[in-house]
């Protein structure tokens, strides 16, 4: 993900109601695991990494709107609202193929935070003994 010291507010971004992110996360069944890096509320409530259904449930209990960094090759977003069907299309894929999103809360002055998929954890959680190094 392109790093920047500037906040999402100053960069091309989308708006995502947290209920839409919860709905999207709820559809990431099949063992997808996630970590949240930097969000105070989620990091005090959940033990990360956690499965998508656990995170979806926590997101469902929250209210508000998220700003999502447009991390596409040519970022042009100007605050368009994304639905749960569209969120996956703008995910940044890291070198391992994990999806990474950078968010901030529209209503809070808190710093940006990351939502990161961890597919390695998905494998470790399935067959721990076989993934020992």
């Amino acid at each position: 993900m392109p790093e920047s010291t500037r906040s999402i507010r100053q960069l091309p971004h989308f708006r995502v109601p947290v209920s839409e992110l919860a709905a999207w996360m709820d559809r990431q069944r099949g063992g997808s695991w996630w970590s949240v890096d930097g969000d105070r509320v989620l990091m005090q409530r959940l033990d990360f990494p956690c499965p998508s259904d656990e995170l979806a449930k926590a997101l469902e209990s929250l209210r508000g709107t998220l700003l999502l960094l447009d991390s596409r090759q040519t970022p042009v977003a100007t605050g368009e609202t994304l639905s749960s069907e569209e969120i996956g299309d703008v995910a940044y894929l890291d070198k391992k193929g994990d999806r990474v999103f950078r968010f901030c809360w529209e209503e809070r002055p808190d710093a940006d935070w990351l939502l990161v998929e961890d597919r390695a954890m998905e494998q470790v959680s399935r067959v721990p003994e076989e993934t020992e190094e």
């Binding site: 970590s35 949240v36 890096d37 930097g38 105070r40 990091m43 005090q44 409530r45 959940l46 033990d47 990360f48 990494p49 890291d94 070198k95 391992k96 994990d98 990474v100 990161v116 961890d118 390695a120 954890m121 470790v124 721990p128 993934t131 020992e132 190094e133």
Partner: protein, 286 residues
Amino acid sequence: MPKPAINFDTYLKRIPSHSIDLPQESEVPCYHYRRSANDAWNLLVYIERNLAEVSVYRVSYDAHMHRLATMVLLGMVEAFERFLKQLAAECINHVARCTSDDRLDVFSAKGSVMAAHFSSGNLGRSLCEPLAWCDCDETNKRFRRILADPFTQGEFYVFPSHTQNPSGLRDRHELMSIVWQLRHTVAHNMGVVTPSDALKLRLLVKGIVESPRLLWPTKGDVWYVKLFLDETAELLNREVGARLAALLTTLHQTDPTLFQADVKAQELADLFKTPATVDGHLRNPL
């Protein structure tokens, strides 16, 4: 080229001033633990993910990731130790003024420590913070006394044996002892498993542990420790909260003027972030 002449007296003495505010969640023990353990885990995955984006020399990368895993493992265990201290301190603050037995004699705070904490007016912290809480038996002894019914030795163990209570916390003593021993090896010997460490670990894991060797944990190892500590912290938070509520109920029934039961129930619910009942008054966390 000669090394620069550093004024150590200036530069080392200013290090303690390089600090930031505690996170907001630090007032709630379970939130504070979770935040710190998650931060420690995120350090590992953040470095791993971002280094995957650039070209690295594989041998150095692998070695550094193992060293980082060692540090992160230590960070998680220390977050858990602090969680135990915070829990104990909060329990003391709730019971100290309501009991007159010798329960707090299990602590032996020095005058200098008491003096440092005097202005804060926080008895629990002054008794708990100077102590190490990385031994199951010592931790058992302290919690048992803090949470004992008046004028008894107590029956509540945070790391109970198969026959001790509460049953919900059983079967963790041995595994927790392994985690404490790993912590000792990393914190005091930079990960070197000494013959003494190996002997203790050998008895705990009931298998061969070689020494002298360097502990070289994987990311998976760190995760298993985190899963265990996360689960233990959750259970402990719930059981200690329930035991404290039961003790305060006993105390309130003996003397209803000690405190307002409904107010106390709300305080416990907010402290443990779980519903709390004190003498029939049920409150949920705000």
